[in-house]
């Protein structure tokens, strides 16, 4: 066999540049998916190594040790314990940061105990000089029983050497580098005696961790070797001390730090960024800049996409032979796809800003700054991250709550995150704002439309915070509060990391949302193009009869027939059925249809209206916006999208829980239907009444 495939697992603490090493090894050659049944992100990349070897490189979630305290960490252990897993690594690569070597080596010693060939990467080597660090590599290799690659993933140095080491993984020692079982030799001897064929450390993990193992009968081991929770924890503490003793010993001989060389920029930046006044000023200024720029920067590409799809639609209907299939393409599929593509600029910008904030290390300072304030509302400082990334999409945001240690704080964060203005609301907001809010400037610089959008974002946060406060009072849950946040050193975000992140996240979002939107568009088109009974199928005759006294010209007649058909199509009937309920909010049955379809996903709103108005209108050339502008209420002659109904719609979309995927993720993360059901009922009720009150006051 000339081509050999090997599995490589990248393991390491968060903030060690593990993902940069991954990106350096694989480039854009990666796949992001989920582990089966859970929502932990699974990143696999492919890399061609020397000597015709191909490597599948698995970027495991960052973890501080093999003592799992979150689902992300359990994934690491489960993989490393299951030799039958098809991703079980032939070689493990532990990535460490040269500045935090001591702490980063803890997990290394644990991986070694599993007797997997392990290569040690000492990353951020480019910082050694400025920090006054020197390392004796041969000494460390001998003591740690491994091969070491000195890498600077930032500069791309040492990657080729790492590849060479991976290729020759069979020469990397796989025995453990210390014996931790001396902390209670009697206990561990008995344990080994009872299961002579199993690795001792593996058995120990089975006893202490709550993770799934394939071959080992957990109950059997646990019943014989049970210890109380606090006894186990004491042993784990001793184990940790033991490991650190070993690490300290090794580093004493192999690592020199010249403290006088260390210039601590971190302390200076920290003083400003966590200052009691400047800290908050800077934080809110950053948020303000992000939201203003998302709105103003993305309008140009969005308008371009909107008009491109409008003309594509009209081109399709004129170029293709007329018929049902052409109608489906030009009125169903093309506007549907356009409704997805139009998101890309805004989502990409959001992901760009969020990943810059995370990469730079700033996000941890925000957590530190906000914790005390957030706790008053039953949240944690760590809730800030989901609440901010919720502005991109609630789904990754809810997954990001996993590092909140306290269950109650985490649950509340999950429940209120969907209030934050996600990018799916943006197109709805953008189109309604541009219809009902005048594009004026106040005080010379502030755009009124931009301000309205800003207000809606603030409204989302306020709704989230107030609901959190209420939930905190209502929910009776007693859990221990733990809060440990690592404050990483500041780093200039790497273009490659940020770029790959933006591309991957945007792609995942567009493909995921795209499928739903496309499917719904096609269904909608079908429902709007067919109808039951005489009113639909004999539309032409009915219109002819109705206008017999005053015959219309050809175009008007056609439009009249089309709207008669739409009104009596399946979807028209559905829309009209709910019209009484939504009329007090200022909506007509066409908006009603858009509301119904929005319960699958909010962003469908614009696409739905696009589909409905295209079916009812022979003029394909116009953009969605101009079509919405032209809509009038046949009874009163008033514009459908006026100030009162516009505000009412904005409020409805701000509060309503219209996202099937978010409900699904809440179910997954809370493991119960109770919480998503609660989200759906409360948010929808709030949305309805807020919209009702607003419309009744403003009309």
């Amino acid at each position: 066999m000339s081509l050999q495939n090997i599995n490589v697992a990248l393991i390491g603490n968060p903030n060690t540049g593990k993902t940069s090493v991954f990106n350096q090894l694989t480039g854009l050659n990666q796949q992001v998916g989920n582990y089966p049944g859970i929502t932990v992100e699974k990143k696999i990349g492919f890399c061609k190594l020397p000597h015709n070897i191909k490597a599948n490189i698995l970027d495991l979630p960052g973890t501080y040790s093999l003592n799992a305290s979150s689902m992300d960490e359990s994934v690491v252990i489960e993989l490393l314990l299951n030799k039958n897993d098809k991703l079980y690594p032939d070689v493990a690569v532990v990535v460490t940061d040269v500045e935090n070597l001591k702490r980063n080596l803890l997990i290394y010693t644990q991986i070694k105990d599993l007797e997997i060939p392990t290569i040690l990467v000492i990353n951020m080597a480019d910082r050694m000089e400025s920090k006054g660090i020197t390392i004796d590599i041969p000494y460390l290799e001998e003591k740690l029983k491994t091969k070491i690659a000195l890498v600077s993933s930032r500069k791309g140095h040492g990657i080729e050497e790492l590849k060479e080491l991976i290729v020759s993984y069979k020469t990397v020692p796989n025995e453990s580098c210390l014996n931790a079982s001396v902390i209670d030799s009697e206990y561990f001897e008995k344990l080994q005696h009872a299961f002579p064929n199993q690795l001792l450390y593996k058995l120990w993990l089975v006893i202490t961790q709550d993770v799934n193992f394939s071959n080992l009968d957990r109950n059997e081991i646990r019943s014989t070797f049970t210890k109380s929770h606090s006894e186990l924890k004491r042993l784990q503490q001793q184990e940790t001390i033991k490991r650190y003793q070993f690490i300290n010993e090794v580093l004493k001989g192999g690592l020199k730090v010249d403290a006088s060389m260390a210039k601590d920029v971190r302390a200076k930046i920290d003083r400003v960024l966590t200052h009691k006044v400047w800290g908050y000023v800077i934080f809110f200024a950053i948020l303000f800049i992000i939201f203003q720029s998302i709105f103003s920067w993305s309008t140009i590409p969005m308008d371009f996409i909107d008009s491109t799809f409008a003309s594509l639609s009209s081109w399709a209907s004129s170029a293709l032979p007329s018929g049902i299939l052409t109608d489906l393409i030009s009125q169903g599929i093309i506007p549907g796809i356009g409704g997805v593509i139009i998101f890309i600029p805004q989502i990409a910008f959001l992901f760009l800003f969020i990943s810059i904030l995370e990469e730079s290390g700033y996000m941890s300072r925000v957590v530190f700054l906000m914790d005390k304030i957030m706790r008053r509302f039953g949240l944690s400082g760590k809730s800030v991250v989901p609440l901010i990334s919720g502005t991109a999409c609630a789904i990754p945001a809810i997954m990001a709550t996993r590092n909140i240690e306290n269950w109650k704080e985490r649950l509340i964060t999950i429940l209120v995150t969907p209030f934050t203005t996600c990018s799916a609301r943006l197109p709805v907001y953008a189109i309604i704002i541009s219809l009902v809010i005048p594009s004026k400037r106040i005080f010379g610089i502030l755009n009124l439309q931009g301000l309205t959008l800003m207000f809606l974002y603030v409204l989302g946060f306020v709704a989230a915070i107030i609901s959190a406060y209420v939930l905190n009072k209502v929910l009776k849950l007693n859990t221990k509060t733990y809060f440990v946040v690592e404050m990483p050193s500041y780093k200039l975000p790497l273009f490659k990391n940020v770029g790959i992140n933006v591309v991957e996240k945007t792609k995942a979002f567009v493909v995921g949302a795209g499928k739903i939107i496309l499917a719904i568009s096609v269904i909608l088109w079908f429902l709007a193009s067919y109808g039951p009974g005489k009113d639909f199928n004999e539309a032409e005759a009915i219109v002819k009869e109705r206008t017999a006294e005053k015959p219309l010209n050809e175009i008007d007649f056609e439009n009249e027939v089309n709207s008669q058909k739409l009104e009596n199509s399946y979807i028209g009937l559905m829309g009209r059925a709910i019209e009484p309920a939504i009329e007090p909010l200022g909506y007509d049955w066409k908006i009603g249809i858009a509301l119904i379809s929005s319960f699958a996903a909010r962003e469908v709103f614009v696409g739905t209206l696009a589909t409905i108005y295209s079916v009812g209108d022979s003029d394909n050339e116009a953009t969605i916006k101009s079509k919405m502008k032209q809509e009038v209420n046949p009874a009163t002659g008033e514009k459908i999208f006026n100030f009162a109904s516009g505000i009412s719609l904005l409020l409805f979309y701000a509060f309503a829980m219209q996202c099937a995927s978010t409900l699904a993720i809440t179910k997954k993360e809370t493991n119960s239907w109770k919480w998503p059901a609660m989200q759906l009922v409360f948010m929808s009720a709030l949305a309805y009444f807020a919209a009702l009150i607003a419309f009744q006051i403003l009309k």
Binding site: Y64, S65, N67, S69, N100, K102, R103, L106, S230, K233, R234, Q236, Q237, T240, I241, Y244, R266, A267, D270, R271, T274, H275, K276, G279, Y280, S364, V367, F368, L369, D371, K372, I373, G381, E405, T481, Y482, F483, V484, V485, E486, M487, P488, S489
Partner: protein, 79 residues
């Protein structure tokens, strides 16, 4: 009065003495919060909580309720 991390002032350095293991998350131990290790209080968040520490070279923030449980012996007073 026994010193804890909570009683330290900004810039103080101390040695970790003892704590009730049931009240301290394992993750903090893994970060290096173990008896005999050095701890320095780097920053106090606005409103007095959480505390930003350098524990044995690891930079971490913890809440006062945890800091209160960790006994220390002052070695360098920042006055």
């Amino acid at each position: 009065m026994q010193n804890t991390i909570h009683t330290l002032k900004k810039g103080d350095k101390a040695i970790i003495k003892d704590f009730d293991i049931d009240l301290i998350p394992l993750k903090l131990l893994e970060m290096g919060c173990l008896p005999g290790n050095e701890v320095e209080l780097l920053q106090i968040a606005p409103f007095g909580d959480p505390l930003y520490l350098d524990i044995n070279g690891s930079h971490v923030a913890i809440r006062i309720e945890t800091a209160r449980e960790i006994e220390v012996e002052l070695i360098k007073n920042n006055l």
